[in-house]
Symmetry: C2
Subunit: 439 residues, 2 copies
């Protein structure tokens, strides 16, 4: 499949490399600071990015305290509280917040996202997750997450309710006619009256129809159940991919699934990519090495335990990875890690360093090299764009916008200015027609 | 009790008079518009108000459709989504969001409010309600609210959990020392590990300590149980009062209750007041009359049904109010309405018009007259300030800031500029010391 002439979708999220906060020039409190995050959103907007993506978790991550104290992401800001504030200081960029279907109520979340969409003039996005951090359960009265399949069944019904609530009002429902005293047209209000196995929700939503009709729905689960719900409900898929060939396969499979589920629009597939820019390849590689050296071993081992859903602290770190039992954590993540260990014959600590530093897709090099790789992935049908993690913040974002963005623009891979009025427009996604949720 | 020389606390909220949206010059979509609400917050800030107060309900109000279509508040914006956006466009004003303890989870709400406090630089407030709109239950899988007493028991434990979560981190917990790799000091993290009848919440919160240590807690329930929880947990009490004498009584009673509950600081008592300004008294009264004429009878009757927790649509509107059975709705509200009917011998429709137009405390007149009344209530110990509803928006707020604010400032009843760094400072409330939640 060749797709010359298409444009890349660019999202960005805060740095997740475990050493990033210690990098020279980095602000270690970046993610927890509104001022920095406002700077970040504005800088991405200057760089014509489509969206800012905020991951989320509803607990401190599961790790021993010695490890926790060395991690930089234990405190952040609630994404759906931060995004409205960012909406007020930006004009074009899409604002995607992660929110769990396991620990939210659909009425509450539909309201928050519809409100964000109105406040931002049509720039809201929702990254639907079913939660994987096992510590979250304990903050909501449970010993552990409900079982993986049950989480996804709840998530599926959650989506149905969200769509129904977002369609509580037709676009032109509110006449607000002071003369007659009629505020809205009763025919244009739709009471959902949903009764299902997980939720009973009457409606209507007490927020107007979102500007985009439906905030952009992003999905990030990678298991069989995760892919299926993405095919049925999402418009953008955020994914971890490591090599181009499996990404192409994933891409094709997801489009196929979506068609089979009766979806009429291609899904946008957006892998995460760790970008380390340098004036020369050597300089970029040196940066990358420096980052990995800033991660400590205890943290790496703890991260590995989480990725496996299994405590590996009792094994010899220099020995091979033993057989790891199935767990209730992220299935796809676990398998990926085990595959990596087996295929490269890594010791536990070597595996841990790879996982913790950053072990997914990376693009390390000059602006031309980074643009080449992005273009290749786009043109060969491996991705529609990328969700970028910078080497460190603020520096990594500044460099990217100054160096890589012009290169992408010159190649016609990135807009010179925003063309659409909404996030959906900029992504090239259709606005669902009136009554879409009613089939 | 004389309190010369003290200053008024001024809060404001959107207009609730049922005719306000039809008033000449009013914007009927004011509350649902971010741009208007941003204008409102900035205008109040120009007028040196302490705070903006957003009421909330998690459903359309309970009324027949013929009535609903004539009401102006069926759609608003989620307060805790709107407030962060307003934080980004203001610098001084406090931002109080209403949130229900019956339909939220404390971990979620603690996070949102802590995030708002950080984003706003210490300006977050929480109006704790236990919900009274009976339609809310149906949006959360229940047939009706849990019983009144149970709601308040849950609310009490909810507060304990919120405080514990807000104290997850000491002020100086985050050293973020890039050299040593230590991000925070483990001794300064406090894991709540709460286990109670309604909630099990481990913590820690994954947001830093709020700038104010504790967002300002406002309480608005008026029953015995409501007063008690206010005495034990709140710092500001929002209340409906109709005459000065009962307000004085309420004021004294609440201070007494607070002392009995071991509270060390006086509660700030803030009645709601409907303000209609005019260049002359006659002009103000004419405005008031005009507003009432804009309310239609069906809406008035429906509002009365809600206030009573009892459907009165089957009675003769021109007859007297029959005996009304107890209900699960707001007790204090119901009693107040029945008292009003009996004391003035009102027919159902006359009662309905009073209730629906606006039947609480009002100040109608010139700037001097309004200032006189406010000063009187302050000096005689009936109130510490007011939560103002303007006749209509935007006009009513513009007039108040231009006309009444200078009058209050001249009398030394209102600041000339903000003196404190946080909402708490401006209200004259102490910042609770480290470990306050741990007793
Ligand atoms: C690329 C990617 C990003 C994710 N981001 C988050 C996140 O920010 N917060 C979260 O709770 N879960 C996140 N997840 C977890 C998933 O959404 C999902 O809940 C979890 O992986 C379990 O489902 P799975 O087995 O289908 O992967 C992410 C997963 C992937 C693959
Ligand atoms: C002045 C005042 C304002 C209130 N504002 C709200 C509100 O915005 N949202 C809400 O759900 N309940 C609101 N309430 C309801 C109460 O907080 C409480 O949940 C309800 O009145 C039942 O408790 P009570 O019987 O103690 O009054 C308000 C009550 C009062 C007295």
């Amino acid at each position: 499949m060749s797709r010359m002439g298409e444009r890349l979708i660019l999202l960005a999220m805060p740095s997740i490399h475990a050493g990033a906060w210690r990098y020279p020039g980095a602000d270690p409190g970046f993610q927890a600071s509104f001022e920095q995050m406002a700077w970040f959103a504005r800088t991405l907007e200057q760089g014509c990015f489509d969206g800012l993506f905020l991951p989320d978790t509803l607990a401190a991550r599961a790790a021993p305290i010695e490890t926790l104290v060395r991690g930089h992401s234990i405190v952040t800001l609630d994404p759906l509280t931060l995004l409205p504030a960012l909406a007020a200081v930006t004009q074009h960029i899409g604002l995607i917040g992660t929110a769990s279907t396991t620990y939210n109520e659909p009425y509450m979340l539909a309201r928050r996202l519809a409100s964000l969409d109105v406040i931002s003039g049509g720039r809201a996005g929702w990254n639907l997750v079913t939660s994987s951090n096992p510590n979250e359960a304990a903050n909501f009265g449970a010993e552990q997450h409900m079982e993986h399949g049950a989480r996804y069944r709840r998530a599926r019904e959650f989506c149905t309710v969200m769509d129904g609530l977002w369609e509580s009002w037709d676009q032109d429902a509110f006449c607000r006619d002071a003369d007659s005293g009629l505020y809205f047209d009763a025919e244009k209000m739709h009471v959902l009256d949903h009764h299902g196995p997980h939720f009973s929700v009457r409606g209507p939503l007490n927020v107007e129809r979102p500007v985009q009709s439906r905030p952009v729905v992003v999905q990030a689960g990678a298991s069989e159940a995760g892919r299926q719900i993405a095919a049925e409900t999402a418009e953008v898929i955020f994914t971890y991919q490591t090599d181009k060939e499996s990404a192409q396969q994933f891409y094709a499979e997801m489009q196929c699934r979506a068609r089979a589920a009766g979806r009429q629009q291609a899904l946008k597939i957006i892998p995460a990519v760790f970008v380390v820019w340098g004036e020369t390849l050597a300089q970029a590689q040196e940066k990358r090495r420096r980052l990995d050296l800033l991660v400590d071993d205890a943290s790496s081992l703890a991260t590995l335990s989480i990725a496996l859903g299994h405590d590996i602290s009792h094994y010899d770190p220099h020995g091979p990875l033993p057989d790891i039992p199935e767990s209730n954590a992220s299935k796809s993540g676990r398998e990926r890690v085990i595959r990596l260990a087996r295929s490269e014959d890594l010791s536990i600590i070597a595996l841990a360093r790879r996982i913790c530093g950053y072990q997914g897709l990376e693009m390390v090099g000059t602006a031309e090299m980074i643009a080449d790789q992005m273009q290749l992935w786009l043109e060969c049908g491996a991705a529609d764009g990328f969700n970028i993690m910078f080497s460190h913040l603020p520096g990594g974002a500044t460099e990217f916008v100054a160096q890589v963005v012009p290169e992408l623009q010159q190649r016609g891979l990135l807009r010179l200015q925003y063309e659409g009025n909404t996030f959906r427009d900029n992504l090239g996604l259709r606005t669902p027609g009136p009554g879409y949720s009613r089939g």
